[in-house]
Symmetry: C2
Subunit: 352 residues, 2 copies
């Protein structure tokens, strides 16, 4: 922390050293020098000097001039669960492979925070933005449009920008059906034993609830409103819902559809308060995949959303010149109990 923070070299320094003009230096170092008919030898000279002096471009200056930044943003609701963290991981790999710099920011599901964060990103001339699970995607959209920023919604759709989301209806159908079928035929699951917990009034939750109810109607006879308990996306509220149910009924439902791994953590909290015996005959379906969750002491069937597919599609859309405002559905995957899937980390080389 004590050496001379000697100023970074600029094109002007190199210009003096090389005897060329700053614009020549600039052209050489940003690759446009052929277009500007700079001699190869001049280019080499400058490149050597740049290397010697450890030149790196000031990206703020470049960004100011060209009103682009080389940054690509991912706006998340939260970091701390496997769905969104694997999204961040996948996103980074994509962006890096395109030679740009990924930056990931979360906005805590707070519409105001979302807008402020996007404003900030815009002020840095972020080139593209993926808006994941936004509470107010259309508010974000307005800001992006005003500054001409390419963006795509992911996970939760908006009405005004292209959106790439999981096929929540089909995923929920698969999951519900798998839960029902997981029970043996000598003691099959009854309609009033299958509950859905978690989620709130967003598109994903609505679609999942729709799928859940449809399958219940088709495979069982009942489909009562009381089997749906939206608790928001918080472990705490979910826990309370489980506790209340347990107080009321003396047990948990035998079949549980849990709307996200975040809500699933509410069940963990409940579990911590009760002996394992309370979970002997239970089957859980969770709309989200968490490798550890898959190995709990009762059958846990999970849905893995195709994060890579969604991110890929999102970039595809943003690369179009006039993206169509529509919602693309990406098929998720049903994951049977005790399954350890590979994830984005497996793409990372680990020496040793």
């Amino acid at each position: 922390m004590e050496h001379q923070p000697k100023k970074k070299a600029t094109i002007y320094d190199l210009s003096v050293l090389s005897g060329s003009s700053p614009s020549t230096v600039s052209a050489v170092l940003n690759g446009t020098w052929r277009k500007r008919r700079i001699k190869e030898s001049t280019a080499n000279l400058i490149r050597n000097l740049a290397e010697q002096h450890q030149y790196t471009a000031n990206l703020q200056a470049r960004g100011l001039r060209s009103s682009r930044s080389g940054l690509v943003g991912l706006l998340l609701p939260v970091h701390d669960n496997r769905y969104f963290s694997s999204m961040a991981q996948t996103f980074e790999a994509h962006v890096r492979s395109r030679g740009q710099c990924p930056i990931v920011v979360s906005a805590c599901r707070d519409p105001e925070e979302e807008r402020q964060t996007v404003e900030t990103l815009i002020s840095y001339s972020v080139d593209e933005l993926i808006v994941a699970g936004a509470t107010d995607p259309d508010g974000v959209h307005a800001l992006c449009v005003a500054s001409g920023l390419k963006h795509v919604n992911i996970d939760l759709p908006g009405a005004l920008a292209p959106s790439v989301i999981s096929d929540n209806y089909r995923g929920a159908r698969m999951l519900t059906e798998a839960v029902i079928r997981h029970f043996s035929s000598d003691l099959p699951l009854q309609a009033d034993e299958l509950y859905l917990f978690g989620g709130r009034d967003d598109h994903a939750s609505r679609e999942r609830i729709r799928g859940f109810r449809a399958v219940k109607r088709e495979l069982m006879d009942g489909d009562s409103d009381k089997c749906i308990e939206p608790t928001g996306y918080s472990p705490n509220m979910a826990q309370i819902a489980f506790e209340q149910f347990y107080q009321r009924e003396g047990k948990l439902p035998r079949g549980l559809f849990i709307n996200s791994s975040i809500n699933f953590e509410g069940l963990l909290r409940f579990m911590a308060q009760h002996p394992n015996e309370a979970f002997l005959d239970i089957v859980v379906g969770c709309y989200d995949y968490d490798p550890f969750g898959s190995f709990l002491p009762f059958p846990v069937i999970m849905i893995r959303q195709d994060v890579d597919g969604m991110i890929t599609k999102a970039f595809e859309i943003m690369s179009e010149s006039r993206p169509v405002v529509q919602t693309y559905l990406i098929q998720p995957q049903l994951v049977p109990p005790r399954t350890a899937l590979k994830g984005p980390l497996d793409a990372i080389k680990d020496i040793e």
Copy 2:
């Protein structure tokens, strides 16, 4: 995507509209106007115009001029596990509470990627940087020093910058002891039944191994080299190690010390290949906390590193004018099986 991406308002636009000079507008909007003795009425006029025209400062321009950006960086090895994702979550909250903009980037444990990423951050005049779990912290340090960027290592220490890390030795001691004591006294764990898997040749792994061996020596009589299997930080290598052990010995060790939740995922993959019976008499200690991991069908004792404590300390250090280059140890916490701790997400308001 089609409306007029009408250019964002600048201080020059407001200058024309208000009849004041750009410098006056600038001063008003960045809060230095009192110092510049601008009339209150002028300030109000300009502020109103700014609001009407939705002025937001171009942060690249500001950053270029002032060579500061308002950005604070967190460099992670990876996103996709609960330890680092909770670190990101906690970091964001801290940075936001200081009115700055958090940006989180991962570098995949690749020294070259680490340096490149930091170079990029420096080119954006990031104000401060937390370097988490870097493979080559001192390489990163060199870059930071060269440009006068305040930075602190976290999770893994460097020799050249202040570092804040978990007390790995003590944590490993606690964990090892807890695993041993978890066995009943009628069939106590023997020295050759307690193995350590995972980690590589970094400071954290070394300290954990040291703690592990010390406790083995103290509580059991043996402490053989063959009970240590560093596998790197990858699920895959860990899985292979478990499989090999299993092929060789016909079972897993009864006591397992797993060096990180990433390696624990290797055990999950192993589990997927084998029936639950193979895990009846097993006790796992994992140096990392994952809420789902805590509820697996065998006892899992975990260490939760005090991420909040580490981040807090890191910012404290960076706020000092001449930080001492030393390593600060933060005490981790022993988490008994079947425990659902609150995390950073609980700090987030969830409406409904």
